[in-house]
Symmetry: C2
Subunit: 337 residues, 2 copies
DNA sequence: ATAGGTTGTCGAAGCGCTTCGACTCGACTG
DNA sequence: CAGTCGAGTCGAAGCGCTTCGACAACCTAT
């Protein structure tokens, strides 16, 4: 293993000079710099991470806590994780992958040991047990998701309130008056991750302004659950012509069931989904949808964190504006019979 | 930040004694151990990761390289990644998340800097550019996936050859004679990740032994591609009654199209899928399938790696035996008309 | 009683890097 | 021309930990 000292000797300078070439914290003459850089290259030198962390008190590692529940929003999570890893690298950081399993202990361990310089937490619950720890430490952190109390925290999330509003605006504009919302599984509401409630709040208050009738039903994914939910919806509100779907795994069942009942999309009923682009474009009907901007969320979180590490960022909440893409699943409401 | 020395002082012993309490590498009297442990607890001490890595030359970190392509097998990848992170923790390791983006450079960087003690590589291609590096370093590594030449490498993967064979055996046993294989997207075959070819090889050779006719067609997922592929299959082999599907995103389209054509599953045609459990159980027909054992793969990879780090493991290939679960999508072949 | 082991503890020497103060040398100022 | 300044470089002091050799203190076997 090549060390700084060997590079220094090879280049005929002192170790500290090599260090300054690497960090750029003091000026170095062009000739020296080039000589050192050539030695580094020739010897294939890589600074030892441990030594560097010890001496500088910074590890250049960002910890990323992902939820353990692998049964939900998995593609979105993965996309965020990869976006975090990729952007972190462009800022000179590596990413340590923590699962939610350890919970608050993981936070203590990582901050206590100096393993990571900062932390990104995904899938934050409204009243998360890890939040007091984050507030109590001087280690920078960014949440992806929105807890109940954001005081002293930096959060990044899609503006789910605006997302809900946007969906019903689109349907209202097309003349739909009776809207059904296929929500996430009841478990999601019970866990209070918040985003589902926020969507609903935004959607309801905009509907009220627009004079729409809204029926909300949580729904586990899959055909059986969807079938039951759908028949109940039409029992209760036969005039329903617009659907907003937030549960990815209910999308395809919904489309299949509507087809089966002889209701054409978008001629008879319109469907707006809140889901990743990929789901929207690969469904059996190309879906009008509000995308979940996973990449942007990951990238933004890293940028915020790096700013804080540089002493510049301040605590605040970044809500990403939703964008609705019109595809083939929405159209004008049918004329009343 | 609490240091070893502070713990030592608090407990009234020397620093080295505290270190030996922590590592257990020398015997310590019960009374001293208890005193030290109490001090550690009271002060909330966590060993500094950088200092430890520097002094011991081991970081207790495992690097995990995931593919950058976020468009494929994503849920499986995520499940593996989480299984790796979780198992690694039970062995005292943390996981560093690397994306494929940096390619071979990432391998050099991580091994060169001592950032990680070992490495797990997912989505290995048949002739991967990173393999020479892995062979050339003394850093232990495990691949998830199977390259062309496994000499000097440790690999973990599902036995895709046996998987293909198992699928056709099941169909043959039910009396099906004409089998169509809906393969992965052409891009997968072109990238030579290997698993798709191995499935096909195993499937073909077993079919030959069983006297089955096999028609293989690669297929991008989605409805349009599937529709085209399906009509070509029935044009060429009208007697087809058995399907093996390896492309997750073709599963639902296939079922929908068959339904639409009036072919009942499993009365008229049988479908076997190679996919994660979740896809099999959530599809519109509960699918007879061979599961991709993501958790087991991740766990096994970590166990292998930890064994190698302990100087015990040897290089070899671990092929996980496939298991076929019979559900509602396969049944006896219809009597010939 | 004495040589030889064990057991438990300590001190000190690093691990490879960053960073501070100090030093040299040439260029500029008044 | 002396004094001042900035640019460029070096030496040395740690960062917090592990680990080796040393050394008491005690036990066992002769």
């Amino acid at each position: 293993m090549v060390t700084l000292a060997e590079v220094a000797q090879h280049a005929g300078v002192s170790a500290s000079t090599v260090s300054y070439v690497l960090s750029g914290k003091r000026s170095i003459s062009v000739s020296t710099r080039q000589r050192v850089e050539r030695s580094i290259h020739e010897l294939g030198y890589h600074p030892n991470a441990g030594a560097r962390a010890l001496a500088s008190n910074r590890s250049n590692i960002i910890a990323l806590m992902v939820p353990l529940r692998t049964d939900m929003y998995v593609p979105v999570m993965m996309e965020i994780a990869i976006a975090v890893a990729t952007s972190a690298r462009t800022h000179g950081y590596d990413v340590l992958l923590l699962t939610g399993e350890e919970g608050a202990d993981a936070v203590r361990r990582v901050t206590g040991s100096g393993l990571a310089d900062a932390m990104i937490m995904m899938d934050v619950e409204l009243d998360d047990e890890r939040l007091p720890l984050l507030r109590g430490t001087d280690q920078p952190s960014v949440l992806i998701g929105l807890p109940a109390d954001t005081e002293g925290l930096t959060c990044v999330d899609l503006d789910f309130g605006a997302t809900g509003a946007l969906c019903v605006e689109h349907l209202a504009m097309l003349g739909h008056r009776d809207i059904a919302v296929i929500g996430e599984a009841p478990a999601v509401y019970e866990r209070h991750t918040g985003f589902a409630e926020r969507t609903l709040d935004g959607l309801r208050s905009r509907s009220r302004e627009l004079g729409l009738r809204v029926l909300h039903r949580p729904c586990e994914g899959g055909y059986d659950a969807m079938s039951l939910t759908l028949s109940r919806i039409f029992d209760e509100r036969p005039a329903t012509t617009g659907f907003v779907v937030q549960n990815e795994s209910a999308v395809e069942p919904l489309l299949a069931l509507l087809r089966q009942q002889g209701r054409a999309v978008p001629e008879d009923v319109s469907v707006v989904a809140i889901c990743p682009e990929q789901v929207a474009t690969q469904a059996s009907v190309r879906l009008t949808s509000v995308a979940i901007p996973a990449q942007e969320m990951g990238r933004t979180a890293v940028e915020r964190l790096v700013a804080k590490l540089g002493g510049q960022g301040e605590d605040d909440v970044v809500l990403i504006a939703p964008e609705l893409t019109v595809r083939a699943s929405t159209g004008p409401a049918p004329a009343a019979p």
